[in-house]
């Protein structure tokens, strides 16, 4: 079998690229070694940037963000919560930065409006009362899992194939050209070869090793970012610090929780498979975070986690200083004399659609076809304006909010009972995730339904959920293993923040679940 395009990496970039390729009529395959969003796409802020954060330092990045921000609100309305954002100035920040910030935002086309600090405190009573200035910008909260799922669903509806739990072990290089990938499935003992006219690497930080194996060097610099999740929403808007971007200066509300981040530290490539926040990172985040919102000091911490930004060292600069956070599209035929291989990396969650468009445009040129990109106009599955109404059965409302009209594919006649109380996930939604996303365990289920992502993090519901999932998978004996794996994974996020209310919860979990 031969594809036009094989895309390696099931994060938001790969998913968006698969969608665009499929919509342009290419026979497309998306390969992912684990589940969708296993890497950085599942370990970030969930922030839909207005571009404000980059306005002063990176005009191009800021312009990309605000354009994509507007597009995603339209094409992914069920993934975006239009919270808006504030950039607040504290006394030590001064107001000089703010003046420049507003000017630069406006140059980039970002609607930045200074508001009176008193007005800001009225809008957001939790923010630091000593603020001397505030600017309102069109930031928003976005669910990266749902956005990735929607892109993958749409790619499939346009004919793309998706191969999850298949690791690309090498690129097939024959006659001086990349001709496909060799993959190994999780349950397989031998590899298989899949051929394509072009292979696109969209594997985040893991791209470097894949390219290296084909003899191509991409200078990547893994930049670790740690984040903390708090047990409820302490603010309605995204709260940013109005100063030169630094550590822990963004607080993003997401569904029923708040996420504070992030740090930025260079880490060795070989550590990227096992990322976790350290106690030092947690202390740094909290120290800075309470400057934004003082009550974070006493808000229950749910857990801490970390992801890796795939930063690219610009070509011709070996010292690692010239690092771009912008979009990097590499045509390896042109760059390295290796046809059949393209890399798309760098960029942000917010700009993934644009990255996909640039990649698909390049593919069109290579294939000598002229097909227009339609991803900015056509809404994603679930972004159909279907909102929960009063007449909707109460157990379906949360699912409608998450999946829009896609709920019509869920069978509530068999399984209307709510299993996850925090996020209101029913058995019907679990069955939908099993059928449409090949869910194998509770961590997968979490990514596709938000099960266990709420304030109790599964403490109360996890056994019920495990039994239901094992039943849907047709093997009830799996339930115990599901519970154990899930609790162990959660524990990893709790140990760096195990004091106060989190330690109370730790004792509870340990007593109820470890015996």
């Amino acid at each position: 079998m031969e594809y036009d395009v094989i895309i390696v990496g099931g994060g938001i970039t790969g998913a968006a690229t698969a969608r665009d390729c499929a919509m342009r009529g290419f026979k497309t395959l998306l390969v992912e070694r684990g589940d969708l969003c296993d890497g950085a796409s599942g370990r970030n802020h969930g922030l839909l940037h207005s571009g404000g954060r980059y306005a002063v330092t990176d005009r191009e990045g800021a312009e990309e963000c605000i354009r994509e921000n507007r597009i995603l609100r339209r094409i992914a309305s069920n993934c975006v919560e239009p919270t808006e954002g504030l950039f607040i100035s504290l006394p030590e920040d001064g107001l000089d930065y703010q003046a420049n910030f507003i000017a630069k935002c406006r140059e980039a086309g970002i609607d930045a409006k200074a508001i009176d600090p008193k007005e800001a405190l009225r809008l957001e009573p939790a923010i630091n009362p000593s603020i001397i200035g505030a600017v309102k910008v069109p930031d928003a909260s976005v669910d990266p899992f749902r956005l990735t799922d929607a892109n993958v669903l749409d790619a499939q509806r346009h004919g793309a194939d998706v191969l999850k739990f298949h690791k690309v072990v090498s690129l097939i290089v024959e006659e001086g050209r990349v001709k496909g990938v060799e993959v190994l499935g999780h349950n397989d003992v031998s590899t298989k070869k899949i051929y394509a006219r072009e292979v696109v690497l969209a594997a985040g930080i893991w791209t470097a090793a894949l390219a290296e194996a084909a003899g191509v060097h991409i200078g990547m610099m893994p930049s670790k970012g740690a984040l903390i999740i708090f047990g409820h929403r302490v603010a309605r808007m995204v709260i940013n610090r109005c100063r030169k971007p630094a550590n822990a200066d963004i607080l993003v509300p997401g569904d029923v929780v708040s996420v504070l981040g992030t740090t930025s530290d260079k880490v060795p490539l070989e550590t990227c498979d096992d990322m976790h926040a350290t106690p030092e990172e947690v202390e740094l985040l909290l120290r800075e975070g309470v400057q934004l919102v003082p009550s974070l000091a006493t808000t229950r911490i749910i857990r801490a986690y970390a992801g890796v930004r795939p930063l690219v060292v610009a070509d011709n600069s070996g010292d690692g200083r010239s690092v771009s956070r912008g979009i990097v599209l590499l045509d390896h035929e042109e760059r390295d004399g290796l046809p059949g291989l393209i890399t798309i990396t760098g960029g942000k969650l917010t700009t993934a659609r644009l990255m996909a468009e640039m990649t698909a445009d390049l593919l069109c040129r290579k294939f000598g076809v002229n097909r227009r990109c339609e991803t900015a106009e056509k809404p994603l599955p679930g972004s159909d304006g279907r909102k929960a109404r009063f007449e909707d059965p109460v157990e379906q409302r949360a699912a409608i909010g998450r999946h829009g009209g896609e709920v019509s594919k869920m069978d509530f006649s068999q399984g209307r009972e709510v299993l996850c109380e925090c996020e209101q996930v029913t058995r019907a939604e679990i069955r939908y995730a099993v059928q449409h996303f090949g869910v194998r365990n509770i961590s997968d289920l979490r990514r596709h339904t938000r099960i266990g992502m709420g304030t109790c993090q599964g403490s109360f519901c996890i056994r019920k959920v495990a039994v239901a999932l094992a039943g849907e998978l047709g093997d009830p004996s799996l339930a115990d293993t599901f519970v154990k794996e899930y609790l162990q994974e959660r524990w990893k996020g709790m140990t760096p923040v195990l004091w106060g209310d989190t330690l109370r919860e730790g004792e509870y979990m340990h007593k109820v679940h470890s015996l």
């Binding site: 106690p279 140990t495 109370r504 730790g506 509870y508 340990h510 007593k511 015996l515």
Partner: protein, 199 residues
């Protein structure tokens, strides 16, 4: 209000101690905030609470004449040197509970018998001596299913079960149950009864 004994905490250990004291004829008050997880391994507090021994015992205590202050918690003590005269509860701020002796049975972290921040762990009612290891990275085991070090932390007592303050035992404050550090000597309730019942 004056009692022979005030038991602080109505969970598994507190309710068991209180029941033994009541059955020995002592006038007992139990302060129970109601945050008990019950008996580990049986139904958790969130479901079927009446099936859990401590909840059943609180009802039995009331029936046998003990004063059970439900939904209340001790906030501080009034001391004469190392002798505890009375405890003040949240709901009865102007009516300290006086007694010949007191039993601390407030449990560990979940029931707030022990509080913690990033650096330390303390006992909030009296500020008793608490065993814990320095550095919070030592408090937990990365394996969730392994015995967790934080479950060993707790209030220190002497071999009579008396709570320690700066290494010295209080005269009439005893500790029992999960609030105590692991390897503490179990409180001998019969010894307490023979000591105080005759008075």
């Amino acid at each position: 209000m004056r009692f022979d004994a005030v038991v602080i905490g109505g969970g598994n250990s507190g309710s068991a101690a209180a029941l033994a004291l009541v059955e020995a004829g002592l006038k007992v008050c139990v302060v129970s905030e109601g945050l008990s997880l019950g008996v580990a391994g049986s139904a958790p507090a969130s479901i079927a609470t009446q099936q859990n021994p401590p909840y059943a015992r609180l009802a039995e205590l009331s029936a046998k004449g003990a004063t059970v202050l439900r939904g209340d918690s001790a906030v501080s003590g009034n001391w004469d040197g190392l002798k505890l005269k009375s405890v003040v509860t949240r709901n009865l701020a102007d009516m300290p509970l006086e007694a010949d002796f007191f039993v601390l049975a407030t449990g560990k972290f979940f029931s707030r018998g022990l509080l913690s921040d990033m650096e330390k762990i303390w006992e909030p009612v009296f500020g008793a001596d608490v065993y814990f290891t320095p550095g919070r990275e030592t408090w937990s085991d990365p394996d969730f299913f392994a015995p967790q070090p934080f479950m060993k932390f707790g209030v220190l007592t002497d071999k009579e079960g008396r709570v320690l303050f700066g290494g010295k035992p209080a005269e009439n404050l005893y500790g029992t149950g999960e609030v105590l550090a692991a390897d503490s000597k179990a409180l001998d309730i019969n010894k307490l009864i023979s000591r105080y019942a005759g008075k």
